[in-house]
Amino acid sequence: MSAPREPRLLASYLRSERRPVGGLVALLVVAMLLPVAGPVLVGRFVDAAADGREASALVGIAAVFLLVTLTGDGLQLLVTWLSVRMAWRIGNRLRSDLARHALRLELAWHGEHSPGLLIERIDGDIDALTKFASTAVLQLLGNGLLLVGVIVVAVVIDWRAGLLIGAAAVAAASTMSKLRTAAVPAHDAEREVNGHLYGDLEERLGGLEDLRANGAGEYAVHRLHDHSARWWSAARRASFLGDGAYVAAGAAFSVGSALTLALGVFLHRRGELSVGSVLVLFRFAQMVREPLERIAEQMRDFQKALAGARRASRLLATEPCIVDGQGGALPSGPLSVDFDHVGFAYDDRTVLHDVDVHLAPGTVLGVVGRTGSGKTTIGRLLLRFWDVTNGAVRVGGLDLRDVRAAELRSRIAVVTQEVELFRASLRDNLTLFGALTTDDDHLSVALADVGLASWVATLSGGLDTLLDGNDGLSAGEAQLLAFARVLLADPGLIVLDEASSRLDPRTEAHITAATKRLLAGRTVVMIAHRLATLDRADKILVLDHGHVAEIGDRATLAADPTSHYARLLGASSAAGLEAPEALAGAGQPGAPR
């Protein structure tokens, strides 16, 4: 990506907020300069008192002081309110664009970018970015203004005192930035010690039984003690260096304000400065500390924000490889499927070679083959998660590359091995957040059709019950929910990536019954991992290393002892005696819970 993208990205989002930004800056200038007026007014008050002016004049100054400073406080609150609102407006727009873009990107891209990473990209990075763009920029600007305002007014009161305050500020700022850099390794070391402490603790807590059974409890306690002692040293060292920087800057300010007071007294003695002005300059010398500290804080966030902006613009610049089709509508009813000499390569690895398969509408095709033979790829190509390398995939007579993705996915449904449920209401899980527009009656009918009516009856909230992702449901129930989704979508083609998980016999029976209902009157591509479920298939496709080893009617192939399919059937029934043993072995981990 080209280097100067990041500032442009932010600028483009800020441009739409031109007017609010302008107003905010104007407001900020006022809000930050009013506090400068406070000490000046106190000085005026003191001078007026020293000059023996009327009490009414003094009261007048005091009233102005109250008005000005309280207005300043109020304005500051207003600026915060406005800038926070703007930050969230811009941030959410950016987040929303990033999410939309990420949703558009194809599965291959998602395969390389974990959901955890996307949480950072879409949310975490933007947090740092918008905080910086709104609050931090305003803070920087505001505190910079305050700093300049104080020094300028000080120079106006007395140029020597003004320069002194300025010099103290510069000295403090440079010590702080230098010493803070020196403290970075110490802070890193502390973080690392803590990382070890928690990492080790998590491991030992995970192995509680091993520790107890081996009488190693005290040893684990000792390790925690030892790690804590390391933290003690690291924390004190980091504190000495880190707080040292802060202290050095603070001391520089203190020396500055003491010197300012001394200079004020000296000038007062020579009759060049009023008592009030001495007080004002002393206050100013103390006032410059806070904005400088704030600025130093914001500078640290700057790097974070810049990195976030860089990552966000890189994500937005990633173009999906799959270009949406422009073409017409798919026919209604069951859909024909044609693989015209399809070849597919992924990452330079050829997965499918010249697959030529044609299905009339309403056909049930069973796809079998070993792991890695390309079974799953067949299903993914049908949904156009990937584009073919050679040949064409046609559904309902149309090349998938010409069909709009939305049209395609409304007519094709898929049930995968791992049914993914969301932490959302049952209704949202069924309609995928409203992608299927339907009413509650239809939902209830679909749930009843797949045999989940009694389960739904146990839910206190009915369709509004919040599901806790996949945690609350058994694998069988999740599978049945996915079937209900398909029934609701009423597609013309179903890709059924058969569940490999083991289910108890009752659920298995439920699923078999539901599957029968599901398949009626639709074209089905059934990717089978177990041969037993292929009884319902009309045709069988045997894949071997991406080649079509065999295709034909199931009955014909089963009757022909020389066919691949018949041989596979033979092998599986021979293995049948062993199978329960193998399954049992796999399901034996450790302890019953």
């Binding site: 969230w88 081996n214 707080d243 020396v255 001495v278």
Partner: protein, 586 residues
Amino acid sequence: MSPTPLTQSDRSDTRFSSGRVAWALLRREPVAFAIAWTSWVLFHLVPIPVGLLLKYVLDHINHDPAGGQPVWAVLVVLGVLEVGRWLELLFAAVQWHGCWVGWHTIPRLNLLRSLVGDPGPAAHRLPGSPGEAVSRFRDDTMDLAMVLDVWLDISGVAIASASAVAIMLRIDARVTLVVVLPVLAVLWLCRWLTPRLRIWRRQAREATAAITGFIGDTFGSISAIKAAGAEGCVQERFEALGSTRAKAARRDEVGTQLIQSLSGATGNLGIGIALLLVAPAIRRGDFTIGDLGLFTTYITVLSALPRWAGRVGAYHRQADVSVERMAELLSAPDPARIVAPVRTHLRGGPGPFPPVSFDHPDSRRDNGRLDNLEVRDLRVSYPGGVGIHGIDLDLRRGSFTALTGPVGSGKSTVLRAMLGLIPTDGGSLRWNGIEVAERSTLFTPPRVAYLPQLPRLFSEPLADTILLGVDGTALASALRLACLEDDVSEMVDGLSTMVGPKGVRLSGGQIQRAAAARAFVRQPELLVVDDLSSALDVETEARLWERVFADTAWATTLLVVTHRPGVLARADQVIELRAGLVAPRR
């Protein structure tokens, strides 16, 4: 944990507040706390003399513009005070960091010690995952430490405020009382606002968690979303969650700023009111310009009070919850246990772990050698599980008992119930004829060692994860018994090889054999071994048992789950389980 202790912990919430727990924690290191307290109070107190000196300087130059030396001397003192304040802060900060670590360490050591050492079954001691328990060790201990920390600050701010008010009262009681009024008002406002702020903060966090959870969920199931063409609906939902979060976050951020602004406004209001009131007095000369300088300084001190006072209540409430969460890690939810006395050596560290020696004749004599072990009517039931229903076993010294049976017949359950790792419904164990009341703490090395089916290695050098604090004299022979010596000699770093988390850098067989060495090195009277066959091939397992049987020096008693014929053939007695019962002899 059964539900009963949890209800007890609910009740204890009202009985045992975080304040009392924090007070007990303070008393563990009273000197360190006293030093921290003094240094923070001093730091907060410095503006008091500074105000007095400023008053002196201002009065002096106003009335006696040509005055000589004293003013310069006062200015030097003022400079020294200010610089000294910062140096004192550095000392206070470094010393405080030591206290801070100590306040975390004492509860942590107590919690871990209870988890690894308290009697009772180890299973289900953690309320959630180990990662969740770590958050209790990390965040909940911090919430408690925050209480002690806020005590330091509120002491300093309160003492400084009291001193300021005392001095101001002597100068002008009427003005002082009026100036204190806005502070009191804001104090009340902050106390009212702080709990709300905490609720807003929590709501903002929850809204954020909802967003991140939604992103994680939907992108985790992106193929389902895409297959259903649900991208648009997901997008809409994301935006809806986003605007909910924005609302919560805005309120939280503005609320935080509100407390800041209120604090600033208190100062300005105080100064403004003082100016209004003193105008006539200044005219009369009753109130000097120096007094005014002093008042403006002290009002700034007072304006910090509401902010800190608000935090005190908030931190206490937060820590109340944390104390309860920590107590859930204890075997009995008594919050006093969290801060029980414990010797810590943070400066310089606790030193090397004193190795436990099982060779020492005393350690054997005290614990008694095993002559026979009787198990009678051992019962375990699981909701929806198989369980065991009355198991009898007799193990004689030096004998080899094999436990066999189909999957799910309860073999592992028998072992774990005997060792006290899981709760039992009944049954008795007699060690040399003496009833064993608390198995979980007594059935440990050197009496009993256990090799589970899925042992856990820890991320440390191989030797350490085998020894786990036992002295290394028997290590070489343990490695040989476990058939691990050849593997070790082939490793570049030998026994110092880092095994990685859960031993990932070793093969499955090596992990199992390292765990076997862990059991052997403890030279137990009774060695309990769960099925080795899932991790070891026939040949290696046979070799391992050959070596164990050939080891005449060590007359251990063996109880082994196995279904390998070669191993069963060597057993003195074979006990076959079926559905949680001992199957009749064939």
